[in-house]
Amino acid sequence: MNGFATKAIHGSLLRPEVHGALRPPVYDSVAFEFPDAHQIQLAFEGRKPAHAYSRITNPTVDEFEQRVRLLANALGVIAVSSGMAAISNVIMALAEAGANIVTTRWIFGNTYSLFEQTLKPWGLESRFVDMTDEKALSAAIDSQTRAIYLEVITNPQMQVADIDRVAAIAHERGVPVVLDGTVTTPYLFRSRDHGVDVEVISSTKYISGGATSMGGLILDNGLFDWSRNPKLAPYAKKFGPGTLLAALRRDVYRNAGACQSPHNAFLQTLGLETLSLRIGKSSANTLALAQWLEKQPKVHRVNYPSLASSPYFERAKHLFPLGAGGILTFDLAGREQCFAFQDALHLVRRATNINDNKTLILHPASTIFCEYDGEQKAAMGVRDTMLRLAVGIEDLEDLIEDLERGLAAL
């Protein structure tokens, strides 16, 4: 069983289903009982692999985690309530007050806000560099650096860093790489093969199977020696390679309470089974639309890593041989034109999500990045002239017809 789709469908049934159901049930139960007091003691001590309370583990969530683990060839996976929960859990596990992370301003707006507004007052410093500038990256790392954090393809700037080089620089300095792989998933990008230590994913997006449910994933690829992290070193003496997973499960994840609901895990396991079909179609649609948009006189600029005109074209070919996912951005003359374009569309929906089955459009500057002033937006690579198209799996001809409607309104 080597193929992604085969593993996604048949992989990792942890134990035989009691009634032989091919679709395992949803264990919508908060608590689980034990045959005797000693067994529950062992479970609480972590000496027995049993479910006790669904904030910590749950059979349906476990099934989802194991399926993802198999697909990504990760050491272990923890499913959480959202992509932001995945990021915040990992950063809180790795860093402490007085420590820093090295990241970039070219990241999702809410992630930037997490670093600068939520975690900064708790004493975490975020150092922002251009991830394509190796000297700046290297210079920003010091003894207090606990992680390098970046996105696989930045949203909405569509930048692709040389992830292998970022990992090499980080590892030379004893620092792990945490990468947001939401827009590629393990189908398009095998983070473990490129030196990424921890991958975080918003499974709300591609994996949920059509925007059915919120969810996040933390994948420990098993590459990093966690005894090098001062905060995790005490755990490393007990857990070795499983240190980060143990620290999350027994501390941050357990105590912060951002668990995934069993019902969402059921939906997302279902979504996982068709992921390769949907992400393939979405990537093909996106490339075709990007190429079509480039030919339109009213479109000033198109950004998509698989476009031959992209500065990241060669890198994207190497990192994403099956396609670069379903997000592109393009620029019109100004904000007014961006709004008029959106309002003329009939099929494409105005909504803030990505990697739905439906194609969605958004003006990032006035929405996700609305809390930042012009200078900040410029530093974040967010232009007032830019629209983000998150391309779904509809028929290409219908999408082009709708975009023609948008351009005709200008």
Binding site: I40, P49, I56, G76, L245
Partner: protein, 69 residues
């Protein structure tokens, strides 16, 4: 031999056991998700087969994934 496994004294017919053999005898579930501590020290997975237990050694199986901590 006698070994203290997860806090309980267990008696084995064999005069000598490795960590790998103990994992098998104890029928430890999901062994890929368990960390083994021998007398309070982490044992590398690569050394399970070569790490031989002594009389009254204390072995703990600690799950870093499942469990009900």
């Amino acid at each position: 031999m006698q070994v203290v496994v997860n806090g309980m004294t267990a008696t084995f017919e064999a005069a000598s056991l490795t960590v790998a053999e103990l994992l098998e005898i104890e029928n430890v579930g999901s062994p890929e998700m368990v960390s083994v501590q021998l007398n309070g020290e982490f044992v590398d997975r690569a050394n399970y087969g070569s790490t031989r237990l002594k009389e009254r050694d204390e072995v703990d199986f600690l799950y870093f994934m499942g469990g009900g901590a």
